[in-house]
Symmetry: C2
Subunit: 521 residues, 2 copies
């Protein structure tokens, strides 16, 4: 038979071999060769430079230092001026004692144990599980085909996608289709796939808000494409400026860069702000005019406080399309949601979905192919999406408890955001927009010159210096504004308001006063 050995390079398209010449060769029978000189190991110079360039501050230097301090506290509990680390750097509610919703977890527990569902008598099972949780688990096991341990369709379980489409239809008052829904491993996986498909290296630019969630710049760096900054206006509670966006688009085009996508994070991360209908409409005008895909990161749509109102970008788009026939039909929108935030807070379960609105079938096929290469999103995470978008309904056994749990989580976040906001309000050298949504405050720091000078001596950003001192003195871990982007010369930090209790807020207040006193000009 034919055997080949020439060092030909496979076409990257086809696995099958192109027809060319082959050399017959016997399998070597010689022993292990010891005559060679071993080569060097890999160094950073051998690594993909796009990966080296990518930065992700949410798990950057300050949080890494917090991990060290956590280990130190475990070894020597009284060696530091505080007794525990407050991880206010990341929206990870269940790390900070937010309890999971009981109904979700009962269903997930049953899904993991289908034998129990089918074999344990109902009266015994319902001593431990709510009856509606048992029924729901049965329906979902049917949707899945019997086991969460089997690969699902790469786009996600059909039945779950139908539940998502129903949720969107109800939320927006306009139809949605399961065919347009892709279930994903959290919103991060959706962002990775969208940008991987729509970035064509250096010829592509993606408009991102500044400040932004650093997933976007990191993913763009991985794709070797340009992050085109459009600034949010702090004074008008971090709103968008369509003229500025238009200007960024034209400027990029003039440089030979195609602005392919525009990212909107609403409610905002790190800003905690919510966009008005008018602001969203103006974004769509730019998108329609220039054929730019809008990526709507709407993972905080449940986290809305103090009477603010969330408007989904899809709803605003459909209204525009109705009001101005033909003008907005070309708009392509990818809207993302996640089980990690809201009152679910199930970060570790990696559930999410993406709705593709207005994309052609051939482009949707590309999304499906890319999803198929990583086989399928985790099936329990998919199940959690189904639960999130269709919680217990009025009249069902778990309804009341579920509602109580939701209200209590929501109210606690609402109160804590106010408390933190009010604390910042009364402190010198710190100002903060009123919180409306998400899980974050993004206060602005007016740092004393001496503190800025000290930071420069340490060769770090001034806001990083503040965050570092805050961590070392109080154990509160935050992320400097420089990790999200900010108008040069301004300094911020991002903090969650997830940590329970009020003592840490008091500790922060004390630290802040001391810091300002120490570095006062």
């Amino acid at each position: 038979m034919l055997r080949v050995s020439s060092g030909r390079i496979l076409s990257q398209v086809r696995v099958a071999m192109p027809h060319s010449t082959y050399v017959l060769r016997q399998l070597s029978t010689t022993g292990v060769c010891q005559t060679f000189e071993p080569s060097d190991k890999l160094g950073l110079q051998d690594v993909n430079e796009n990966v080296l360039k990518a930065k992700y501050a949410v798990r950057g230097r300050i949080p890494q230092r917090a991990e060290e301090l956590k280990r130190q506290l475990a070894d020597k509990p009284s060696s530091l001026p505080f007794s525990k680390i407050i991880n206010a750097n990341i929206g990870n509610p269940q790390q900070l004692d937010q309890k999971p919703l009981t109904f979700y977890r009962q269903v997930l527990s049953l899904l993991q144990n289908p034998d129990m569902v089918s074999q344990v008598p109902r009266e015994k099972l319902t001593q431990i599980y709510a009856p509606d949780a048992v029924d729901r688990a049965k329906r979902m096991l049917d949707d899945i085909g019997g086991s969460v341990g089997a690969y699902s369709h790469s786009q996600g379980v059909q039945g779950f996608r139908e539940t998502v489409a129903e949720f969107i239809s109800k939320r927006d008052g306009v139809p949605a289709s399961a065919n347009d829904i892709f279930l994903t491993a959290g919103a991060s996986a959706a962002v990775a796939n969208i940008l991987s498909i729509l970035c064509r290296g250096k010829e592509t630019g993606v408009l991102i808000p500044i400040p932004q969630y650093p997933l976007y710049t990191a993913t763009l760096a991985l794709n070797d494409s340009h992050a085109l900054a459009y600034y949010l206006d702090e004074e008008s509670n971090w709103s968008t400026d369509p003229e500025q966006i238009e200007h960024v688009v034209k400027d990029a085009q003039a440089k030979g860069i195609t602005p392919t996508c525009l990212v909107v994070i609403n409610p905002g991360n790190p800003t905690g702000a919510i966009l008005s209908v008018e602001a969203i409409e103006k974004i769509f005008s730019v998108a329609a005019k220039h054929g730019i895909v809008v990526i709507a990161d709407e993972v905080y749509q449940e986290n809305v406080f103090h009477g603010a109102k969330f408007h989904s970008m899809k709803q605003v788009l459909r209204n525009l399309q109705k009001r101005y026939p033909g003008k907005y039909d070309n708009v392509q929108l990818a809207s993302l949601h996640s089980t990690s935030k809201g009152v679910s807070g199930e970060c570790g379960q990696r559930g999410g979905y993406m709705e593709l609105v207005g994309f052609s079938d051939e482009i949707k096929q590309v999304f499906l192919k890319l999803a198929s290469i990583s086989l399928c999103p985790v099936v329990t995470g998919q199940a959690l999406v189904d639960l999130m978008v269709c919680p217990p309904q009025k009249g069902e056994d778990s309804y009341e408890q579920d509602q109580n749990e939701r209200t209590s989580i929501h109210d606690a976040l609402d109160q804590r955001s106010s408390l933190l906001y009010e604390t910042f309000q009364r402190l010198e050298g710190i100002s903060c927009q009123k919180p409306q949504g998400a899980m974050y405050l993004f206060p602005r720091l007016e740092l004393p010159q001496k503190a800025i000078q000290k930071a420069h001596e340490l060769n770090i950003e001034p806001d990083e210096f503040y965050c570092q001192e805050l961590l070392e003195e109080t154990g509160i871990c935050t992320v400097p504004g420089s990790g999200f982007g900010q108008v040069p010369g301004t300094y911020h930090l991002r903090t969650t308001f997830l940590a329970p209790g009020t003592e840490w807020i008091k500790a922060w207040e004390e630290f802040h006063k001391k810091f300002y006193h120490k570095y006062h000009d």
Copy 2:
């Protein structure tokens, strides 16, 4: 305050803005603009060409046709010559009625419901759950920090990584460290991360066995790097030829391409073969000499049949390093394992691990940073890895049942692989190497000229034509050899032996005879 609008392009490294000039501008207050002409929607010409190039045959044309037929059967059960689709195209055991291991699922069920673990009295809980499952769940909840719904460390839960390190130490008889273990969402996520880090576009080549699992060529296409083919030798049960590998390395170097990694799939996918210690040693010789990273895809290490023996690449490497001091110290090995295969078969749970052997700390930091951008692998999948590498031990409540379940799954696969192999042995025009491991047979088809001609008329590969006819006649879905790569002019297909029962094997036999009769020269 300062507000900016110039369309500056963000550096991909830094989120913070470079200092340059800014234009002050007021937020626009004009209404939605209707005077523009909408642009076109995206077409394939706007998509990243690397994504377009990537192919993944396991979920390609034939499996897609199978999905259509499945829907047709659901609508009109008697409209086809068969009553159900046999998905022999993908190693998805639980889709084909392989039951999950009871102990795993009991623990996972408890992990999802921590209130139950802490609040339901033990005597009530142990009416439904095995006592050792309850104890294990408690230990694991401690490891996690209380909830599977919190993000874990991006590298994976420390306690679980320690369990993995213990497993590897025992398996290989040499030490392993939790610091070198990265928990991953299945092995596919590990492959994506490794290649993303070690590929530097067109200057990089990665040696892959042909035939290969198409994840590798697909991921290389996404990274715009070269797949350098080295052929497995079918006659010697798909073994490797170190001289040929050396030749491929030198040939690539001569073309200015750096061969950075070499992929070994052992037990083999799609071949089902197992490499000898000698074959592995010779691979390491080439790796040491040229400083090539070895990627050991060892996800089928539990799937070993008919008295064959699996040798881990790490163990072979450590032995070489002991025998030849200094000669192999430069070798860098990434070894992958997964909860999707073996007797676990938990594909939908997305669990896996990667052990990095011999990598420098700075490179491991790059792996950690990339992992942190996608936050963390699903925590229940991480828990499943812990369970897989540390199942119930002798003397524990669940030991006997667990052992029985394992034996029965293993024996059923063993028997079915033999039955399928023997069937192929007695058929004209089909030959097959003796199965040793994994979940697949990769028989070779000697297709009649008329069948080849017919395929050319249809503009498809001849083995794709055979697979298509097999599907349309019997409902058995397989993947053509052309999807994995093969010596040009040879034809194969990959089939799993996971489907229960023997009727489908009989149906295949009948189809094959008819096909050969019809197209006989």
